[in-house]
């Protein structure tokens, strides 16, 4: 497959296609902060800031220069990894984001991986037993899972496993690096919540596209060859039916890596999403800006990676582009 010439062109096209998106993302993030009513310097210093201090900060922040120049300077810094410092704590923004990102990523990646696995198994089996009991049960559970808000499910799981049964801790967080066992105990419920919430839509998508593929002649052809049902499902149905689910996995992963604010709030985890919300409440704009940029970048990169996976599933995409 590596020898096929279409692949290189396809990859180049996808990477090039992501660049304008990233540029507009940067403009939006920069513009958003400028849209805040009032002078950013004044906002940052609060009501206490006297006019001289504001003027000094304006010059320091380059606010007296034309907007395009300000944007260029900001983007230049951002590209070098300098996202400014937090107004609240004085910490540099990027290390702060990366530290919080570890927490978010460990939950989100394991949850989405598990949800995908469940979706593949559940979706394939449901489609295989189309309109039978198993199918109806899977669809019912998935539809219900789609209707449950993560914050409520999280609270209910806390209520049952934390408060009533007292199997798992209710409040707090221990980094995995400090104590593996205790750290894991804090991650079980958030991951379980995300898995349930995210798998509903994935199962249904997997089932729908598997049904579409099961109708095609090559599946009947594979059965007519005498292949076992397991091989028909895994070798002939799954690869051709997985792409739409993969797209959804990419969207979910891309969006959640930017911060799972709700889950992090329910389980009091120091993740990226909580950082955004707290910074908004505290009007800590450099942090908000940095988080938004980071989230959008994560989204674009994840979806680029997903795009680059498609040729592995369907050799035709490199041609049809």
């Amino acid at each position: 497959m590596s020898a096929r010439p279409g692949v290189v062109g396809y990859v180049a096209k996808r990477v090039a296609g992501a660049l304008p998106t990233l540029l507009i993302v940067a403009v939006l993030v920069f513009g958003l902060i400028r849209m805040i009513p009032g002078d950013p310097a004044q906002v940052m210093l609060g009501d206490a800031g006297d006019p001289q201090a504001v003027a000094a900060l304006r010059t320091e922040m380059g606010l007296d220069r034309p907007l395009p120049l300000q944007f260029a300077a900001w983007l230049g810094h951002a590209l070098r990894g300098d996202l400014g410092v937090s107004i609240a704590t004085g910490e540099p923004v990027l290390p702060l984001i990366l530290q919080r990102f570890q927490v978010t990523a460990s939950i989100v990646v394991s949850a989405i991986a598990l949800a995908t696995l469940i979706a593949v198994v559940g979706g394939l089996l449901a489609a295989w037993r189309h309109r039978r009991g198993l199918d109806q049960a899977v669809v019912g559970v998935a539809t219900l899972a789609m209707a449950v808000p993560s914050f409520w499910l999280g609270l209910m799981l806390l209520l049952v496993f934390g408060v009533k049964l007292q199997w798992l801790p209710v409040v707090g967080y221990v980094p995995l690096t400090e104590h593996l066992g205790a750290g894991l105990a804090y991650l079980v419920l958030p991951v379980a919540t995300l898995v349930i919430v995210e798998s509903g839509v994935l199962i249904r998508m997997m089932r729908t596209s598997a049904l579409d593929v099961l109708r095609l002649e090559y599946v009947t052809h594979a059965r007519a060859k005498g292949l076992s049902e397991a091989r028909v499902l895994l070798r002939h149905v799954l690869p051709n039916a997985f792409a739409p689910t993969l797209t959804l996995v990419g969207l979910a992963l891309g969006h959640l890596l930017g911060g799972a604010a709700v889950i992090e709030t329910v389980f009091t985890l120091p993740g990226l999403g909580r950082l955004v919300v707290d910074s908004i409440l505290a009007r800590d704009y450099p942090v908000v800006q940095g988080c938004l940029l980071f989230a959008a970048l994560a989204y674009v990169l994840v979806n680029l990676a997903v795009d680059l996976c498609y040729p592995l599933l369907d050799p035709r995409v490199t041609v049809e582009g």
């Binding site: 594979a222 059965r223 070798r235 002939h236 690869p239």
Partner: protein
């Protein structure tokens, strides 16, 4: 007798109650190496009958009576294991749709290998050698290299032959071919079926060919079974069934084959459409540069004349039909309709041109707006006829619907009609403005044989009645024989032959035309198979 396959009293029903049986009291006996055709139109149950043999009935269909004995063993009650051993190994099956019959995500090498690995104990190298040899026998060039290719890298005809290779590789004792060439053009169809007959004869494989095409039955099958709506209406030696059909339905089926009428003496009329050096090139995604769809085409169509354009897929005939109607903006060269360039028209002139020219599409379902009623669909072109009053328009619509035999159906939606009725709606829509020129793009090729004959006759009648000129695009020389005044043969975007119908059909000059004529199925049963 040591039959290979015996089906007795087979009855299939839909699980939903209250429907008539899908197949009733179906019996068939087959000896090793025998070639039998199952003939019928859509809904006749022919595909279901064949699928029962492999236990591949679609969900919602049940066998309620009868048995299927393969080599003396009842295969309808087999456990999954023995059934799978039978599938592929003893009984192979080839399907209709070349675009969907191979897994797009697997190399053809892997797909050929899959069955061999399952049903034989050969080592990898021997399996590969067998696959290469079989690909060569189905006339795939450079087979060793092509093993690593994916299905989308082949043409439709090649894909059908590759599927045939993957099935015949296992030397099955019975081959079920379900409309294997319906989606292919005449030449590709001929090649695929010739290869199939050849491989089956070499391996002494019995064949059940499921088809609606009587020409293929005549050419390949020794015996034929004719099905109508689940009932077996006639069975016997092919020659007998086709030459002296006993059942009324078979007779209708045989009569529905297009046949040549006397040539119409068309009085020399002024040229309505002239095309000079028409060129259209498309950018194709899969290769750099421009792909020429039309490469210097010149022709004229006189008023009232019916000109057939014949060619295989990719010959440019569809592009030609679109370009003369001014629907292809990139067209180079010259198109003149009554002296005017369709692409240069504006305002009232453009509307007048659109009123004078119409197009009938191949797929009657896709070309009708699903959310409009038939009456509205037929009335819509009259929007551009301001000289007609509302009452006149309504009368015109009513009259045209009566012309096409759909008097009372103006209130229906397209999805509430049959395929043939839908194509009648499309034809009514095309003639309601009394056009002087109609392009008909394969208008009957998606229809069943008996319906095809009815719609074709209707089209002929309307053409005579309203006197419009017509560019009739088709791949079927039989249709050409029935309706054309003149014939244009196209290949690779060029006209290779042109002339009066009888001249082209009886004395073809170009080798491609001769090839097409030779590949066109007819009812003539080859002589070596007529004696029992």
């Amino acid at each position: 007798m040591s039959g290979l396959l015996r089906i007795e009293g087979l009855r299939l029903e839909a699980e939903a109650a209250g429907r008539p049986a899908l197949l009733d009291d179906f019996s068939l006996a087959l000896d090793p190496g025998e070639f039998v055709a199952l003939v019928g139109e859509s809904g006749s149950g022919k595909t279901l009958a064949a699928r029962t043999i492999l236990g591949l009935l679609p969900p919602g269909v049940r066998r309620t009576a009868g048995q299927v004995l393969f080599e003396g063993r009842d295969v309808t009650n087999l456990a999954p294991g023995p059934l799978r051993a039978l599938r592929g190994g003893a009984i192979g099956m080839v399907f209709q749709e070349p675009m969907a019959s191979l897994n797009p995500a697997m190399t053809i090498g892997a797909q050929l290998d899959e069955g061999l690995r399952l049903h034989t104990a050969l080592p990898a190298a021997a399996r590969r050698a067998a696959a290469i040899e079989m690909l060569a026998r189905v006339r795939i060039t450079d087979p060793a290299r092509r093993l690593a290719s994916y299905p989308h890298e082949f043409s439709g005809g090649m894909r059908q032959r590759i599927m045939l290779a993957s099935v015949m590789l296992l030397k099955p004792r019975l081959l079920i071919a379900d409309e294997p060439t319906t989606a292919l053009d005449t030449l590709a169809q001929r090649e695929a079926l010739d290869v199939m007959a050849e491989l089956a004869a070499a391996a002494n494989t019995a064949v059940i060919l499921i088809t609606h095409n009587l020409g293929l039955v005549a050419r390949y099958a020794r015996r034929a079974v004719v099905l109508e709506k689940g009932r077996t209406v006639e069975a016997g030696e092919t020659a007998q069934v086709l030459a002296a059909p006993k059942d009324p339905y078979t007779r209708r089926l045989v009569a529905s084959l297009p046949r040549r009428g006397p040539a119409r003496g068309v009085p020399s009329a002024p040229a309505l459409l002239t095309v000079r050096d028409l060129r259209v090139a498309y950018r194709r995604r899969d290769q750099p540069g421009l792909f020429p769809a039309l490469d210097g085409v010149s022709l004229t169509v006189a008023a009232g004349e019916l000109v057939a354009v014949v060619g295989g897929s990719g010959s440019g005939k569809t592009t030609l039909g679109r370009a003369v109607l001014g629907l292809v903006k990139e067209a180079g060269g010259e198109v003149r309709f009554e002296g005017l360039d369709p692409l240069a028209l504006t305002g009232a002139d453009r509307r007048a041109f659109r009123r004078a020219t119409q197009l009938v599409f191949q797929d009657p379902y896709a070309s009708l707006d699903p959310r409009m009623r038939v009456g509205e669909i037929v009335a819509e072109p009259l929007r551009n006829c301001p000289e007609l009053s509302a009452a006149e328009k309504a009368r015109r619509v009513e009259a045209v619907l009566a012309d096409v035999g759909l008097e009372a159906l103006g209130g229906r939606f397209p999805h509430q009609m049959s395929g043939g009725q839908r194509q009648r709606v499309a034809i009514a829509r095309a003639v309601v403005t009394r056009p002087r020129f109609v392009v008909a793009d394969e208008p009957v090729s998606a229809l069943d044989a008996t319906i095809q004959a009815q719609v074709l006759t209707l089209f002929q009648t309307l053409q005579a009645q309203y006197g419009f000129a017509c560019l009739f695009i088709t791949h079927d020389l039989g249709v050409v024989a029935q309706i054309a005044d003149r014939v244009i043969v196209m290949r690779d975007g060029r006209i290779v032959e042109e002339g009066a119908r009888d001249a082209v059909l009886d004395h073809p000059q170009d080798p491609y035309t001769r090839e097409l004529l030779a590949a066109t199925p007819s009812l003539a049963v080859p002589s070596q198979r007529t004696e029992p």
